[in-house]
Structure formats: C-alpha cells, structure tokens
C-alpha cells in the first residue's frame, strides 16, 4: 500500500519545510541545549576565546534564583487565571453572538479588532487608562491630582480610587490589570475559533432537539458543548502555551521594569526572565538557555497532559 514512488514524492513535497526547519529551528535548538550545558556561558566570553566546561551549573543557578521562582509563580498564576476566564467569556460571547441576527456582523467585527493590534502599543494605552497622576505614591499622604480614567469610571459607582499600576500599588492590583489586559487580548482568537465551531455544528441536531422539546440550557450542554469540545480543547491548549509565553503584554503595561517602580520585576514572567538574561547590559546566555529549556519542559508536560486529557474527554 505504501509504494516507493509515492514515498519519494511525499518527501519531495516536504523538502522545503524540512530543510528550513532544520536550519532555522532544529539547529538553534541544538545550539541552545549546548549553551545551557556549558557552565557560565556568555556569548562575549565565547567570542573572546574562553573555554567552558560541560556541566549543569546554569540549571543550578536558575532554580536557586529567587527571581526565577517569582517569574514561575507569576506565569503560572496568569495562565491559570486567564485561560479559564477568557475561554468561558469567549464561549458565552460566541453563543450569544450566534443567537442573534441584528448587529451580528458589526459586533463580530468589533470583537475581532484586538486581534490585529500590536500588543505593546495597546498595553501602553491600558497602562495610561489605569494609571493615576500625582506625587508621593507609596508614602503616607499621596497627593492624587488625576485618578485616571478607570478610577473615574468606577468612581461613578462609588468605589474609591485604586492605585492600579503606580508606585505603591499592591501585587494583586497589578495582577488585576494584567488579567484584564490578557483576557482582552486573548478573547478575539477564542471567539473566532468557537464561533467558527458553532457555525459548523450541524443544524439537524438542533432541529431534533427542538422536536423533542429539549430546553435551551440542556441543548447547550448536550449538543453544543460536546460538538464544540474539539475547539474548546484547542483554545485551552493554545491558551496554556500562549500563557506560558506571556511577556509582551506585561512590557506593554509595566515597561521592561516588569512591575511598578518600587517593585521592579514583581510581575516578571518566564520569558521575561529569559529575555532579561539575554538582552541586559551584562547578558548571561547560558542561564537564559537553561531557563528556556526548563520552560520548554514545563510547556511540553502541560501540553502532553492536556492532549492526553482531551483524547479521553473530547467528543469527536
């Protein structure tokens, strides 16, 4: 059934992909692994002719670094919180959108707009929306001259202004802003996929349910969710992968300090850790590589588990 000629042809079709992947993906991976196992490797020292011994020194430094643990904690928290929220919201919006006729196309277009924007640019917009203007933040008597647009809006409901992103803001206030931004950013893709899925569900199922007199909620859980489960699994898996690679959204809101001025690095993420070690004034490529490998292992494990679970649980 597998004849020789076909084999040869298949490989021919795949040739460009294989060559390009080998050169621009596989070779960098090999190089990264090599660097990670060279003790205290830095690129400049390498060029300068220094010899490095093979060992696990870089990994040791990474896991013993309190900063890395902060990054790990932030990344996990952001992922665990934003993926369910954005998936649920996207599902809700997609189902609602699918049930209406008027304004449907306009709303669809609006919801997808964040998809075509630059993460960092809009992050700056978010940060100005949340930030206060004044002096003495973090002191006993801060002087607020402008509470910022978001604080003005919540002020309408009688809520006291919150210090979201400025000096002296709390960790969870910062996290809240990040969660809002990441969910805002993640929604369009998820709505796109889920709405696409909803529209491809065979109408016959719904008609049958109608004839049977099945209620809407029941139809939703009995028909819609199982039919959507491949898309749900897909957005959850890609959401997790994206979540572990979170970086530019934090840069957009907090700049490369990765936190409010008095707590720099408080919201740093794993990719932020890698980037900082790669691109600072005294870069340590060995540590960055070790961090990247650890990150890959984590993403890989979570994705494998996700796939395993969805194989068991997802209805095809």
């Amino acid at each position: 059934m597998v004849d020789g000629k076909k084999q040869w042809k298949a490989w021919l079709y795949l040739l460009p992909v294989i060559i390009l992947t080998l050169v621009f993906t596989v070779w960098p991976i090999i190089n990264t692994v090599r660097i990670a196992f060279l003790d205290d490797y830095t690129l400049m020292d390498d060029v300068g002719g220094m010899e490095f011994s093979v060992g696990v020194h870089n990994f040791e430094k990474v896991v013993n670094n309190p900063e890395f643990l902060t990054c790990l904690k932030n990344t996990l928290l952001l992922t665990v919180i934003t993926v369910p929220i954005s998936t649920f919201l996207a599902l809700l919006i997609a189902v609602c959108l699918n049930s209406i006729k008027a304004l449907n196309r306009l709303l669809q277009t609006i919801y997808f707009l964040p998809y075509v924007t630059n993460t960092i640019a809009i992050g700056i917009v978010f940060s100005t929306m949340f930030s206060m203007v004044g002096t003495g933040f973090g002191g006993e008597n801060p002087y607020i001259s402008t509470a910022g647009i978001i604080n003005n809006i919540i002020g309408i409901f009688g809520i006291e202004p919150v210090n979201w992103v400025n000096t002296g803001s709390t960790y969870w206030a910062n996290m809240f802003v990040m969660i809002v931004y990441i969910v805002w950013n993640a929604l369009p893709f998820k709505i796109l996929i889920l709405l696409g899925g909803l529209q491809s569900v065979n109408k016959q199922y719904y008609d049958a349910a109608k004839v049977d007199g099945t209620g809407r909620v029941r139809t939703f859980f009995r028909i819609t969710v199982p039919m959507l489960s491949p898309m749900l699994a897909y957005v959850v898996i890609t959401g997790f992968i994206g979540g572990f690679k979170e970086y530019s959204s934090v840069v957009g809101v907090f700049t490369e300090d990765m936190g409010p001025p008095d707590k720099q690095g408080a919201l740093n993420t794993m990719v932020g850790f890698i980037n900082h070690n790669l691109m600072s004034g005294s870069p340590r490529e060995g540590i960055a590589s070790a961090g990247a490998i650890l990150l890959f292992i984590i993403i890989f494990a979570v994705t494998m588990l996700n796939m395993y679970v969805s194989k068991k649980r997802v209805h095809y």
């Binding site: 690129l43 430094k61 003495g136 002191g139 002087y143 001259s145 000096t167 700049t255 707590k263």
Partner: protein, 488 residues
C-alpha cells in the same frame, strides 16, 4: 505512543549533538596592529552606528560629506540606530558572530560588555602614532593626536576611556552631559531662602528645627511649609542621585575590579533612611517614582494647587531647555551646582556625575578599515565646529575646550541667561564645574548595578513600618535584594 517515542528520540538526538558541538569554538580576529604607513588610501567602506535622531543625524551627515572630500576612498555607511540599549543588543549579537560596525556610539558599560569578546580596539597605539597620513588634496595629518589636541580635551571626559581597570584606552569621548540644580529664583528671593549647597543638616536636626539653613533638609522643609501642596524637589534620575550621593559621602558604590559591589553598608542605609523620611513627607519625587513623568514638568508648571509643583529640579544639563518655565508661569530660574557633602565644599572636592556617549572602534580583518575609522572619529571629535554645532543642537556639552573660542559658541556662552538661553547657561556652568566631574566605574555588570540603584531608591523610600527599627530592617532587606540581583 509512537509520537512520544519520536519526541523522546528527538530529544536524545539533540543531547548527543551537544557533545559534538561542545568542542567547536569561534575563531577570533588577530589583535589590531597599525599597518605600516597608516592609511594607504585604499577604498574601504566603514559602518558607523550612531544613536542620533533625524535632526542631529543630519548635522553628522553634513560633516561626513566634508570628511569624504578629504578622503574620497573612505565611504561611511552611517546607520542611525535606535536608543543606546537596543544598539548595544544589536552590536552584541553582531560581535557574537564576528561581525560588528567599525565604530559606534557607546557608554562605558557597553564597552565593558564588548570587551569580553576582545574585539574593541585599544586606542593607545593609534593615539600615540606619529605616522603622517596623506589626504586627497596632498596635505598630510598626523595619525595620532598631537599634544595640543590631547590637552584640548576636558580631562575627566578623556580619562573615562581608560576607566576599565587595565589602564588601556578603549573609547574616546563624543559629547557629554552632567547634572545641574535648577531652582525657582523668584520664590527663593521672595522667601529669602538661601540656595542649598549641601544635602543633610550638620546638626542632625530634622526639618525647620535645624539651624543649618543652607542644607537641602532645611530648604525642603521650608518650601513645604510655605506651599504645603507642593513637592519641593524633583529629581529626574534617581540612579544618578544615589550614585552621586554614595560618591560624595565616599560610602561606596562599585569598583572596576572584583569584588565589584560596595554599596551594601551601614552608611548607605543611613542615607536611604533619611531619603525615605523626605519622601514620606512628600518633599521630593523622581521620574521613576512617577512612572516616567519628567519632574521638570513639575518645576516649570504654573499651577501650584495640584501637587504638581516643585521649586527645585535636579536634571541633566542636556535637558536644560525643558527647565524653562511655561509662559504662564512667570518666574526666574537659577542654576547651580548640585548640593554636596558639606557646606562650602570647594569645586575641586565637589562631585557631580558625568554622562554621555563616547565612541569605540571594533577590530576588523582589514586593518585599513580600523585606521580609516580612527581618522573619522578623530576628525569629528577634534573638530570644534562640529562639536559646537552638535552640542548646541542636542544640548550636549562639547568634549574639547577650544569650542569655547569658536565665535558661534562663544556668543552662546556670553549671552547665557536663565530664560532665553538656558542651554548656554548650562554649558557655561558645566565648564566652571569641570573639576567636580566623576564617572562611575565600568565593568561587566555595572549596568545592572545602575538599574538596581533606581529600583533601590524606589523601594527604600516606600518601605512601610511602624517603628524606626522595622523601617531600618525593611531598608536593609531592599539593599540585600539589590545586591543579590547584582551579584547573580
């Protein structure tokens, strides 16, 4: 299951490949030696990576054209890079692959990084060379610097190129700036408040109680008392402030040879404890604490009822023009040296930080390129006309003293005042204070230390605590954090 096996196999492949490639090292260019006869007139293209925006870049291009007339065979590819940090990252990546521009704008921190690759050309042999190089029009010039040219440099600037702990010259100054204190002269005069010339009260009393009326302590308390809604002092760079304080009080910041980090000590805890008290009283703010708002905008502001009003502003001499009050805020500005360790410190014992770009050369397989690059760097930096034009346009200070004799620049200095010609005022004062300048040591990790100074100031002044002891513990903790991040 097959997929799992495939992936595991792939990982194994990668790990085994590691040992194959572990052995391969990069080959390094031979150290630079001046070719006999210097520049031989051959055609070379050299790349110059600057950090100039459009308007200043055009001045440079103009002078590059003049250089081209002198040496028609040297083609300069002027690359306008981004900001200093992104240039550094680009050059680092290029060096990592044995490529680099021929010359580039740099800070000493950057050179400390590039130096690890041993690709930065040591300038001593070029500076001292007495080879005569022939120009297109038949005239000759000395390849090295003449004694007059050497003496023309402002010495602190010139010596910064040698501050890497091995007494070799790696970079040559291009344009510089320093910090100045701008104050609201109208208000100071009407309050008859003396301009502070040192930071802390000599009698250790707080606020208005102190009898040391020329201290910053007293001035801030006084202004806050007169205008309770103001933030008396605005500092544009927190890191510069701390580094300068540590230098003035000789309490230790960093040094070029290991162990590098000296700032974690009792005296510095004391300094930060005092600064914390000031901040908690709303006596000062910095740009970093304001998430990026320039404190000069508080200084020049007309309104005093929004907390956005300051009476003293410490900022760069390069930004003198932005300390000019808004049209609606009609007050006179005074400019002076930043406060020092003690009252009436003579200039020679005063300390103020110096900053700004220098130029370094990178080694190349073709030594002619290096010589040509040096000729270009020398042409620009020793060219008083260029230094004057660039200095006036960008607000930077020329690095050579002969610029002062140039008519255009001399006018600027002569008409210096604090309203219409603030840049001239700043330039004039900086020349007066040139013996007070210092530069912070440069080594692999010095830029991290600098970043940590900002973080340290911000986190220390916002430390919470119910008792003096608790606050001190909090501050010590922040110091340990900063140190750990530097040493890591």
């Amino acid at each position: 299951m097959k997929k799992f096996i495939a992936v595991i196999l792939a990982v194994l492949l990668v790990v085994s490949a590691l040992f194959v490639f572990a052995a391969c090292t990069k080959k390094r260019k031979a150290d630079f030696v001046i070719p006999e006869g210097g520049y031989d007139g051959s055609a070379v293209t050299i790349t110059f990576m600057s950090s100039m925006g459009q308007s200043y870049g055009n001045i440079l291009d103009e002078f590059l054209a003049k250089f081209k007339e002198m040496y028609p065979n040297i083609t300069v590819d002027h690359q306008r890079g981004g900001d200093y940090d992104s240039n550094r990252d680009v050059i680092k990546t290029q060096l990592g692959n044995n490529q680099a521009p021929n010359l580039a704008f740099c800070y000493s921190d950057h050179v400390a990084l590039y130096n690890r690759s041993k690709a930065v050309v040591v300038l001593d042999s070029l500076i001292d060379s007495d080879i005569e190089v022939t120009r297109a029009d038949g005239t000759t010039e000395r390849l090295g610097l003449t004694d007059e040219q050497k003496a023309d440099f402002i010495q602190t600037y010139y010596n910064e190129g040698r501050s890497f702990g091995d007494d070799k010259m790696y970079m040559i100054p291009f344009a510089k700036s320093t910090e100045l204190m701008y104050y609201n002269k109208t208000s100071f005069d009407s309050w008859q408040l003396p301009v502070p010339d040192h930071w802390f009260a000599s009698d250790d009393k707080e606020g208005l109680e102190t009898s040391d009326h020329t201290s910053m302590e007293y001035a801030l308390a006084f202004i806050k008392d007169k205008d309770p809604k103001s933030t008396p002092l605005g500092v544009d760079s927190g890191a510069n402030w701390l580094i300068t304080l540590f230098e003035q009080f000789e309490t230790g910041y960093t040094k070029a040879t290991a162990p590098h980090y000296l700032f974690d000590n009792e005296e510095n805890y004391n300094i930060l404890t005092t600064l914390r008290r000031w901040y908690q009283n709303n006596w000062f703010t910095t740009r970093q604490l304001l998430s990026g708002t320039y404190t000069s905008s508080y200084f020049t502001s007309a309104s005093s009822d929004q907390g956005k009003k300051s009476y003293i502003s410490i900022g760069s001499s390069a930004g003198a023009a932005k300390q000019v009050p808004a049209a609606s805020a009609n007050f006179d500005v005074g400019v002076s040296l930043i406060p020092q360790k003690a009252a009436n410190t003579p200039i020679s014992e005063s300390k103020v930080i110096s900053q700004g770009p220098s130029v370094c050369l990178f080694n190349s397989d073709n030594p002619q390129e290096v010589v040509a690059s040096w000729l270009l760097a020398k042409y620009l930096i020793t060219n008083a006309e260029f230094e004057a034009r660039y200095g006036l346009e960008a607000g930077y200070l020329p690095v050579i003293q002969s610029v002062q004799q140039l008519s255009g620049y001399k006018d600027k200095l002569d008409t210096a005042d604090t309203k219409d010609n603030m840049a001239g005022m700043a330039a004039k004062l900086c020349l007066e204070y040139k013996d007070a300048l210092f530069v912070s040591p440069a080594f692999y990790g010095s830029s991290e230390a600098r970043d940590q100074m900002d973080a340290l100031l911000n986190s220390c002044v916002t430390v919470k605590g119910n008792s003096a002891d608790e606050i001190r513990q909090g501050i010590i903790e922040k110091f340990k954090d900063a140190l750990a991040k530097c040493e890591y």
